[in-house]
């Protein structure tokens, strides 16, 4: 690999530019007109402007991106995350034009891309799925199924989602009574009252495993991350390791992720996401993310590796030099996403000019960002402006470092979620690691709003 086209923006584009430079690879940034002045554009060996600010006319056009790669003599392309990163057509275009795509093959991407295909793959690889029934004729059938998987269970409408036809039942009586109600509701909403049943996960954690494959069947894992602090399925805080996992569950989790992706000879970086049932201590497959993820730095911190550099090496045809036993996980890392949104105004985006930017430094503190004093946060794209990553000997030290780093972080000119992140980092539930996937929305945010009102 001699010259790499980077088809992304923001902190990840900058991160890829620097990883390429460290490996002696030239970088060409393909940016929109809005990002002409970005830090990534300044640091890249060359920047070409694809099109106007609007992403559909620039970052989201696979043909433009591949044309830019060819015209500038690039032999590889890194898509970053978001935008075109999981678009099979981009991978295919790259292959047809002799450009190495830094990511999985189009076949793999398709195999894990669709939810149903991915579930079948997981099933075939012996990876646990949330137990679900087929269509149920009546409450008696539902009861029989519930007895095999155990309570609580939840009814779901075959014909649609959105909460209609969903009833959580903790006992046989609740199920008998709830079944009729749910079926009626489904019939009203979708014209079809058919229900099926799933095991209900009362207290869930979002746990995911970072992997890297060489494309020939060798798949390494870099431990798991706990990304349970989410708002509207958007992660806000991510940690590694998932400190609540019992050791044997953690081992089985890693094995499942590796088994799943080695079954398709997965190439490059990927993440296998699981739902973890805290009460039952069981995990269930959700989906595969066939790209590098926003939260990869926490895995880098505890494993002492550079995943982006590793991605580039794998895409350049180098074998994975590591063995699983070489990957030793050490300490605890936490990442928080700093977003240009105002938590006091229902997370309204707040683009604009950054008047003051004082970033934290110190032992175990890393900041991934393309922002600086005087920089502009454009209104056209995702509002994440920085990722603050802290690493400590254990979770308690990591939390302390997070609190300190957030205290030292000053951003003026735009509204950000930093005050909310400080509130999270100081909350007893967070400090004691007693959260779930519903915690941020149901406990933390109402409490934060209350505090703001006072």
């Amino acid at each position: 690999m001699k010259r790499l086209l980077i088809a992304n923006r923001g902190e990840i584009a900058l991160r890829i530019v620097r990883a390429a430079r460290a490996l002696g690879i030239e970088s060409v940034l393909a940016a929109s007109a809005a990002d002409r002045e970005s830090l990534a554009a300044k640091e890249a060996d060359r920047t070409v402007i694809l099109g106007p600010a609007k992403a559909s006319l620039s970052y989201l056009d696979p043909r433009l991106v591949v044309h830019a790669a060819k015209a500038t003599g690039c032999d590889a392309l890194h898509p970053g995350y978001g935008f075109l990163s999981e678009r099979t057509s981009l991978v295919t275009l790259c292959e047809e034009n002799g450009i190495a795509f830094v990511g999985p093959t189009p076949t793999s991407m398709e195999q894990v891309g669709g939810k149903i295909a991915a579930r079948e793959l997981a099933h075939g690889a012996g990876v646990p799925l949330v137990s679900g029934s087929g269509a149920l004729a009546n409450a008696e059938e539902a009861l029989a199924f519930a007895k095999t998987v155990g309570f609580p269970v939840v009814t779901k409408a075959s014909a649609g989602g959105g909460g209609r036809g969903m009833v959580v039942a903790r006992t046989a009586e609740e199920l008998k009574e709830g079944f009729e109600r749910a079926s009626h509701e489904a019939k009203e909403a979708f014209g079809d009252g058919t229900l099926f049943l799933e095991r209900f996960v009362q207290t869930a954690r979002h746990i995911e495993v970072q992997v890297m494959g060489d494309g020939n069947g060798k798949v390494l894992h870099f431990g798991e991350r706990d990304c349970s602090a989410q708002r509207r399925y958007q992660k806000m805080v991510e940690e590694a390791p998932g400190a609540i996992l019992p050791a044997d569950v953690r081992t089985r989790l890693h094995e499942s992720a590796v088994r799943l992706l080695s079954s398709i000879k997965y190439r490059n970086a990927g993440t296998v996401e699981f739902l973890y049932d805290v009460e039952r201590q069981e995990f269930y497959f959700i989906e595969v993310n066939a790209r590098i993820q926003v939260e990869h730095p926490v895995s880098e911190a505890i494993c002492g590796v550079d995943l982006i550099q590793m991605q580039l090496k794998v895409a350049g045809g180098e074998p994975l030099a590591l063995e699983q036993k070489d990957i030793q996980r050490r300490g605890h890392a936490i990442e928080v996403r700093v977003i240009a949104e105002d938590p006091d105004r229902n997370f309204a985006p707040s683009p604009g000019r950054i008047r003051r930017w004082q970033a934290p430094t110190g032992d175990g503190v890393r900041l991934d960002t393309a922002m600086h004093e005087g920089a502009m946060v454009p209104p056209y794209y995702d509002s994440m402006i920085a990722k603050l990553i802290v690493h400590g000997a254990d979770r308690a030290q990591a939390v302390q470092r997070l609190q300190g780093a957030l205290r030292d972080f000053t951003i003026e000119g735009i509204a950000t979620n930093v005050p909310l992140l400080r509130y999270i980092a100081a909350h007893p539930d967070f400090i004691e690691n007693r959260i779930s996937t519903r915690w941020l929305e149901q406990v933390l945010l109402p409490s934060y709003a209350q505090r703001s009102a006072n």
């Binding site: 393909a30 929109s32 007109a33 002409r36 002045e37 060359r46 070409v48 402007i49 694809l50 099109g51 106007p52 006319l57 620039s58 056009d61 043909r63 433009l64 591949v66 044309h67 830019a68 015209a71 500038t72 275009l93």
Partner: protein, 164 residues
């Protein structure tokens, strides 16, 4: 500071045009740039400058004409001589610039040719997909800013038309 490319200049001029500044006088090692929104103004100090540009149309004063574009920014170096009333036809997106509908065919337009606003003046190709670019204004084609089959970026000047 490395020498600014023609793209840098365009960005600077754009910034200046959108600002409420009246004047911009930039001097770095081996490079000087003076912009003014007052057509009658001249640089008041330092080395004698060429006539000040009017910013209604792309024009700039190059303190050092040697600040010619490199291969990275293939805009014609002669941009300094562009009269204020010429209109730039710009690329809608990144792609390859073609003067003719196919190899060997006559170019869409030649220098000195009169065009209507909807006259096709060139093609921009993106992965074998060709989009024609129209003049956008009635006038006479005065200058080409890009070589045939060269890569152009979004908003890059392709050619200049003098309106009639």
């Amino acid at each position: 500071m490395t020498k600014p490319t023609a793209r840098d200049l365009e960005a600077l001029m754009d910034l200046f045009e959108k600002s409420d500044w009246k004047e911009l006088d930039l001097r770095t090692e081996g490079f000087e740039l003076y912009l003014s929104k007052d057509p009658t103004r001249r640089r008041s100090h330092g080395p004698a400058a060429s006539p000040a540009p009017v910013l209604s149309a792309p024009a700039a004063v190059f303190g050092t004409p040697a600040a010619a574009p490199t291969a990275r920014a293939p805009v014609a170096a002669a941009a300094a001589a562009i009269p204020a009333n010429w209109i730039a036809v710009k690329a809608p997106n990144l792609g390859t610039f073609y003067r003719a509908p196919k190899p060997g065919a006559a170019p869409y337009v030649e220098i000195g040719q009169t065009v209507a606003a909807d006259t096709e003046v060139c093609l921009i190709e993106v992965m074998k997909l060709f989009t024609s670019v129209r003049a956008g204004v009635a006038g006479v084609v005065r200058q080409l800013a890009v070589q045939d089959a060269e890569m152009v970026e979004h908003d890059q000047v392709l050619l200049y038309i003098e309106p009639v």
